[in-house]
């Protein structure tokens, strides 16, 4: 059985290799005539001894008009979603952990596209008339909720989503945006996501996804991005493109060697695919058009390596990092890359980023692919940061009011950029802020205060454009979209907004009300700065979806922290206490009412008269005498208990018993 398979494999491989150029050629034309699928993995060492692994799967389906409704590779669930809800663009991300913009970079395509806020984020653009957008959104959330085993359906409520006009991305009217910061992400969300891949995680790069090692990481973001031109009648539309990415930041298992507290820097941990994922790549997914692993070196890292190279003049001077990997002074790769790509240098000062390309087609079960990187010298570098470091925090204390502050601090990157710009003339640093605030945080938008370089500024001087839609209680969240223009030499800026904390109705509180309530992450983007990486390649750029993604001219974008606002919570056991006490009071009330109703005045007087005549027990007489004395009234002899009163008293005892049981219940079982 094994033998024929082994024989068959090269043939299959060969056939795919033969077909591949044809597919490429067709794809290069822009319109897809056939479904295709490609899988890629990008690895990148990070400055703080961690490794970024970015899986990228792309499935494309041609326009239904040319291909009909049946699919070979493309997931049917997604195409049905697109058909049904007329989704033009959609992005759904499940994230655990926070992207560290300082250490892992904030100025590259991955951080701008794949760094997401914790929890679930969903946005979608619909191709329907404006009044139907909300309905489509609600249906979509329910469909996705079922598809991904997540509570995406909570985004259905109009208090959780918003319709940004231009603050997030320009799609006025038909864009809806919502986040669930508290959604926990686990394998139950990953499995349905993997189901959309033609090979699932049985073969190809996705086989690397060992659950424990993926979820052990410091950051984990699983994303699904959908673009469709299904509803554009224009000829040559590209159909549906589904991009599934999984971005993980993991720390390679380096044995915790003796901690050195000397000032010398430590060697970065060496890693390999097996040490990160515990698995090797045993061939590609046969259905994939291309299957590639990239190893990307940061601009900063390449710069450091070049510097090291120059220092060690031992090796021949002409060999640079991106030409030979074996002679590299900094590190060593266990596998020879098939191709080395160098970034086309946009900025003169910067060293270009370098990408090593490995084709998985060559590898098989018998010859698994295991990329290893061994550091030879300690290298210290830093990732390129976003022009401004944004952080958001809460101010104030107490349950009454507070303030949200967004602080922006310039990084060394922006210093360099801005000072070059400064020479050209007046320059402004443009910052776009998009923030959604739930309705129970009642933000007063008129209290916006802007400080630049620790000096208060007139809001109108700094804020270029602002759109605010105030929250409506229990109906819609407050949305703030803002474009700010700061002077270029700015060191720091702060925006503050005051708010009052609202009260919720008792049944609007979630089960864990005492934890506090989340304010979703704000989005800070820099329209002047673009994350575009042009790699020096020929026409075959389209072959790689990651590299073509890198070429897209996206604005630099960063998410701020999610905030936790403690709100006043009622005593949730109070209704229970109220119920028990009401029952007790009711029992007593009905008891006494019955008592009164059953008494007849005339009979009572008669009985009292007859009682006066009768001799009663000494003790009773004594008691009544004492009580009369205490009350300061003339003594009247007590009345003997009549039949009716004994009946009544037994009734009363019964009711007291009931009340007593209620109280007992409250005390011991409450």
């Amino acid at each position: 059985m094994a033998l024929p398979l082994l024989l068959l494999r090269p043939i299959l491989l060969l056939s795919f290799l033969l077909f591949a150029p044809i597919l490429n050629f067709k794809a290069a034309l822009g319109s897809v005539t056939e479904e295709d699928f490609s899988e890629e993995l990008l690895l990148r060492p990070l400055p703080d001894r961690k490794v970024l692994a970015h899986f990228h799967f792309r499935s494309r389906a041609p326009h239904t008009s040319s291909n009909g409704r049946h699919h070979h590779l493309f997931p049917k669930a997604i195409s049905q979603l697109v058909q049904k809800f007329h989704v033009k663009e959609m992005e759904l991300s499940f994230t655990q952990g926070r992207w560290n913009y300082d250490r892992w970079g904030g100025f590259d395509p991955i951080s701008s596209n794949n760094a997401k806020p914790p929890g679930v984020e969903l946005w979608a653009v619909f191709d329907v008339p404006l009044e139907q957008v909300d309905d489509s959104w609600k249906n979509l959330t329910h469909a996705l909720s079922g598809l991904f085993c997540a509570s995406v359906n909570f985004l259905e409520s109009s208090t959780t989503y918003s319709a940004p006009e231009w603050g997030y991305r320009p799609a006025p009217g038909s864009l809806r945006y919502g986040t669930l910061p508290r959604e926990a992400v686990c394998t139950e969300n990953l499995t349905p996501w993997l189901k959309l891949l033609p090979c699932r995680d049985k073969a190809g790069l996705s086989a690397l996804m060992d659950r424990p090692s993926i979820y052990k990481g410091f950051y984990h973001s699983q994303r699904l991005r959908l673009t469709s031109s299904e509803f554009e009648s224009e000829e040559g539309a590209s159909g549906i493109v589904l991009q599934q990415t999984l971005t993980v930041v993991v720390q390679p298992d380096s044995e915790r060697n003796v901690m050195s507290y000397s000032h010398e820097t430590k060697l970065q941990p060496s890693w390999s695919l097996t040490s990160i994922f515990g698995r090797m790549v045993t061939g590609r997914c046969v259905l994939a058009k291309s299957s590639t692993i990239y190893l990307q070196l940061d601009r900063g890292l390449v710069g450091q390596l070049d510097y090291l190279q120059k220092e060690n003049e031992l090796s021949s001077a002409d060999k640079s990092v991106y030409e030979g990997f074996s002679s590299n002074p900094g590190f060593e790769l266990s596998v020879k890359p098939d191709r080395v790509l160098k970034e086309l240098n946009g900025f003169e000062k910067k060293t270009p980023s370098v990408v090593y390309e490995f084709y998985i087609e060559k590898y098989s079960e018998s010859r698994p692919f295991d990329l290893g990187l061994t550091w030879k010298l300690p290298v210290v570098w830093s990732c390129q940061k976003a022009p401004l470091h944004a952080s958001r925090f809460l101010m104030g204390s107490g349950n009454e009011r507070g303030a949200i502050a967004i602080s922006l601090r310039s990084t060394e990157v922006s210093d360099e950029f801005l000072h070059t710009d400064m020479s050209e003339g007046r320059c402004k640093l443009e910052v776009k802020v998009f923030q959604v605030v739930p309705w129970y945080i009642k933000v007063y938008f008129h209290t916006v205060r802007v400080y630049v370089n620790e000096q208060p500024q007139e809001v109108s001087d700094v804020v270029e454009k602002m759109r605010v839609s105030p929250s409506v209680d229990k109906v819609s969240p407050g949305v703030m979209e803002m474009v700010l223009k700061f002077p270029c030499g700015m060191k720091s800026a702060a925006i503050t907004l005051e708010f009052d904390k609202g009260f919720l109705h008792i049944d609007e509180y979630p089960p864990d009300a005492n934890q506090g309530f989340d304010i979703p992450a704000a989005i800070i983007s820099f329209p002047n700065f673009h994350t575009s990486m042009q790699f020096f390649t020929d026409k075959s750029v389209d072959r790689s979806s990651i590299l073509s993604k890198f070429q897209e001219n996206n604005a630099v974008l960063a998410y701020t922290e999610v905030l936790l606002v403690p709100l006043t919570t009622p005593d949730f056991s109070m209704p229970y206490n109220v119920i028990t006490i009401t029952c007790t009071v009711c029992a007593l009330y009905f008891g006494s009412l019955l008592n009164v109703l059953r008494k007849r005045v005339g009979e009572e007087e008669r009985s009292s008269k007859s009682k006066a005549t009768k001799e009663t027990g000494r003790l009773r007489q004594l008691l009544s005498r004492v009580s009369a004395k205490l009350r300061g009234r003339p003594f009247e002899p007590p009345q003997p208990p009549s039949n009716s009163s004994s009946f009544i008293s037994s009734k009363l005892i019964l009711f007291i018993l009931v009340a007593g049981i209620a109280v007992f219940w409250q005390v011991y079982f409450g």
């Binding site: 703080d48 655990q96 952990g97 926070r98 560290n100 914790p118 929890g119 910061p181 052990k216 990481g217 410091f218 984990h220 915790r256 901690m259 507290y261 000032h263 820097t265 210290v380 830093s382 952080s391 925090f393 809460l394 101010m395 104030g396 204390s397 107490g398 349950n399 502050a405 601090r409 205060r449 400080y451 370089n453 620790e454 000096q455 208060p456 720091s492 702060a494 503050t496 864990d512 009300a513 005492n514 934890q515 506090g516 989340d518 922290e561 999610v562 905030l563 936790l564 606002v565 403690p566 919570t569 205490l630 009350r631 300061g632």
Partner: protein
């Protein structure tokens, strides 16, 4: 009103059965008419109930299930302890060089932090001067910020390290605080740093962390509290406009911390901005005491924050549980030592113990009574718990957190005597305390919601026993219940005495009546109320006076105190002349016999309202104030009448009143209490001034209580005593 109704119904001769008043009204009339008996019974019951509290204390239990303390084995190992020891060694060696040791040790700590992969930042602050701000009571802490002319020499630097939870969302944080004096390092502070460092280094690697961990090395050269408070203030209410830059320009030497970093990587990770993590879930202040225990390592918990606010009981419970059942540390809570030797307390304890035995012999189910020794310990702890809550001054740096609704406690760890010399013993000590801190952090980390499940209002009688609000309020309610009763009965008697010609019903107090005077009976109380109001107004003036006295330069406490007393008396006289004269001239011509009774009744009601209000703000100070005030107010009776009567009862009352009136004067009460517990040798009048100064410096509501409730009531009682009638 009730009494009037009753008196009206009493006048016609009774032929038929009177319409019965409702039972509650009846009860009220009954209580009022026997107010003397009931006030004695209730007050004694109140004091007894207070004494009974240690017996009624319940065992603490962990209320929040999510905490799960001690459910996993501690991960802290000897490796971390060895690293911590290295830090101690480096610190002591760097400290031996006198030059730039302050900056050197700060730098060393920040280097150790950043080597662990934590985000390190420095926070510069200027200590706030203790000034009297009359309007800052009960206000939010940020309004206390005043712009002072800051001198460069006076600034402290906190070092802050933050571990970001690898998979957390960064919404919540746990704070570890170690006070550390960088100028003068001593061994116990180094040890507390070592404990925190060992835990911190463990936490950088653990996979279970869900909340960020902040380690604040608070500069304690201006006191432990001020560094923590300054950091918290900047954390919660930062100032964006301009103060920070001025500092940097004015104080060039403060930049040395960053300038001296020769290493590129460390320079990059240490950052002079303010780093934040999310909302704080809990805070632990770790201290190692400089005196050591004789027998075993022990742990002392301090929990009282400003105005008697306590952290959630669950926080104390987990610390107590982990320390006792996991790490074998002996846990202590602050005790009031002088109480331990008291004879009568011992007898009382024995009585309670025998009562408990009796109860158990009747029914074995009744668990009443504790051993006498436990009772004495419990009451000593309860007394100190009451005292520190009443004082309203936080007992440690944890008090700063409570102002921002963060639950925090101070853990002071006492090492065994010999442990610090012996290397092995020191390691063991570090390991045990580190594991305790790790366990607490792990429990808090497990917490899904903030602390809310357990009690916030309680008194501790031992680390494992507490009295909840439902129990201790009974004692207070019994204590103050006589006030309205006696006030009502006095009022009723005073108004009835006008009818004393018609009805032959002599009032118990106003029996010295010779001639009736006809005035507007129902409006009579307004004059008294006016007087009481003005005296209370004077009380607030007196409590504002220190603000002006503070401005006088170079005043010793004694002179300040004398100026204060003098000014107070002056203002009282002025107020009497200006305000009280027009109302009193009518009375002066005809001093009324019942006037003092009405005045006393209004005083009692004012005292009752004041005490009840205070019990909501700070229970303990209301309780202690009630113990002093209730007998004084209840017994106040004009001396003239008593002297006239000349019976044994009245003479004893005169003596009693004079003694109470003397002791009741706040400075005298303070000095007597201080002398009783600490000996009269070092007692000085200026001490009272310093004590009061500390009260307003900490924004204690007790100060307001003394100034605006207690002092006016005392003055009114004295006024009643010397009433000419």
């Amino acid at each position: 009103m009730v009494a009037e109704k009753e008196s009206e119904t009493e006048t016609p001769p009774i032929h038929r059965a009177r319409p019965k008043p409702r039972p509650i009204v009846q009860l009220g009339i009954f209580l009022i008419s026997h107010s003397l008996l009931f006030s004695v019974v209730f007050s004694t019951a109140g004091v007894l109930a207070l004494l009974l509290l240690p017996v009624l204390a319940k065992n603490t239990y962990i209320s929040e299930n999510a905490l799960m303390p001690g459910s996993v084995a501690p991960m802290l190992s000897n490796q971390e302890v060895a690293e911590a020891n290295r830090l101690v060694k480096d610190l002591t060696s760097s400290n031996s060089k006198p030059l730039a040791s302050a900056i050197g040790s700060q730098r060393l700590i920040s280097q150790y932090m950043s080597n662990l992969g934590a985000e390190v930042s420095h926070h510069k602050f200027h200590p706030q001067l203790n000034q009297f701000h009359p309007l800052h009571f009960f206000s939010s802490p940020d309004s206390g910020r005043v712009e002072q002319n800051i001198s460069c020499a006076l600034h402290g630097v906190n070092t802050v390290g933050i571990i970001r939870a690898p998979r957390g969302d960064g919404k919540e944080a746990i704070v570890l605080v170690t006070p550390f004096n960088s100028v003068k390092l001593n061994q116990n502070e180094a040890l507390s740093l070592a404990i925190a460092y060992s835990v911190f280094s463990l936490l950088t690697r653990v996979p279970w962390l869900a909340k960020d961990v902040i380690w604040l090395v608070a500069d304690s050269q201006f006191g432990e509290y001020s560094g923590v408070a300054a950091w918290l203030r900047d954390y919660h209410t930062p100032v964006f406009s301009g103060l920070g830059t001025l500092d940097a320009e004015m104080c060039p030497e403060s930049n040395n911390i960053y300038g001296l970093n020769e290493n590129l990587s460390i320079k990059r990770t240490i950052y002079d901005g303010f780093k934040r993590a999310g909302t704080m879930a809990a805070a632990l202040v770790i201290k190692v005491a400089d005196r050591s225990e004789q027998y075993e390592d022990s742990l002392s918990i301090y929990a009282e924050a400003s105005n008697g606010q306590m952290p959630n009981l669950d926080l104390i419970n987990i610390v107590n549980y982990l320390a006792v059942h996991r790490q074998g540390l002996r846990v202590k809570v602050e005790k009031f030592w002088p109480l331990l030797g008291l004879k009568w307390l011992k007898t009382l304890g024995e009585i309670f113990e025998s009562l408990g035995h009796l109860a158990r012999s009747v029914n074995p189910q009744w668990k009443f009574g504790i051993p006498a020794a436990d009772y004495i310990e419990g009451s000593a702890t309860l007394a100190s718990s009451l005292y520190y809550q009443a004082l309203g001054v936080p007992t440690g740096p944890h008090g700063a957190f409570r102002d921002y609704q963060v639950d925090a406690i101070t853990l002071e760890i006492f090492p065994k005597v010999s442990s610090l010399d012996n290397k092995v013993r020191q390691n063991d000590f570090l390991l045990r305390s580190g594991r305790l801190i790790e366990g607490v952090i792990r429990s808090v980390n497990n917490l899904l919601e903030k602390f809310h499940q357990s009690f916030f209002l309680y008194l501790l009688t031992s680390p494992g026993k507490f009295v909840s609000v439902g129990v201790y309020m009974i004692a207070f309610a019994l204590l103050v219940a006589p006030l309205p009763m006696v006030a009502a009965s006095l009022y009723v008697d005073a108004s009835n005495s006008d009818y004393s010609l018609k009805i032959d019903k002599p009032a118990p107090f106003a029996n010295a009546s010779d001639e009736p005077c006809i005035t507007l009976k129902s409006w009579k109380w307004l004059f008294a109320a006016k007087k009481v109001f003005f005296v209370h107004l004077w009380g607030s003036v007196v409590s504002l006076l220190p603000y002006f006295i503070c401005q006088i330069p170079s005043c010793t406490p004694t002179t300040s105190f004398i100026i204060w007393v003098f000014l107070s008396i002056l203002s009282l006289v002025v107020m009497y002349i200006v305000l009280a004269s027009p109302s009193s001239h009518a009375n002066e011509s005809q001093p009324q016999r019942g006037e003092w009774a009405i005045l006393k009744s209004v005083t009692l009601s004012a005292a009752f309202i004041g005490l009840c209000l205070m019990s909501v703000i700070n229970f303990a100070s209301a309780e202690i104030g009630g113990l002093l005030m209730v007998p004084m107010c209840l017994m106040a009776h004009p001396l003239k009448l008593d002297v006239k009567a000349r019976s044994i009862r009245t003479v004893s009352r005169v003596v009693y009143n004079l003694v109470l009136g003397f002791i009741g004067f706040p400075p005298v009460a303070f000095i007597v209490l201080k002398g009783a517990f600490e000996g009269f040798s070092g007692v000085n009048v200026g001490d009272f001034w310093s004590w009061v100064e500390s009260l307003w410096a900490w924004n204690s509501a007790t100060y307001l209580y003394i100034g605006m409730v207690y002092l006016p009531c005392w003055v009114l009682c004295i006024h009643v005593l010397f009433h000419r009638c």
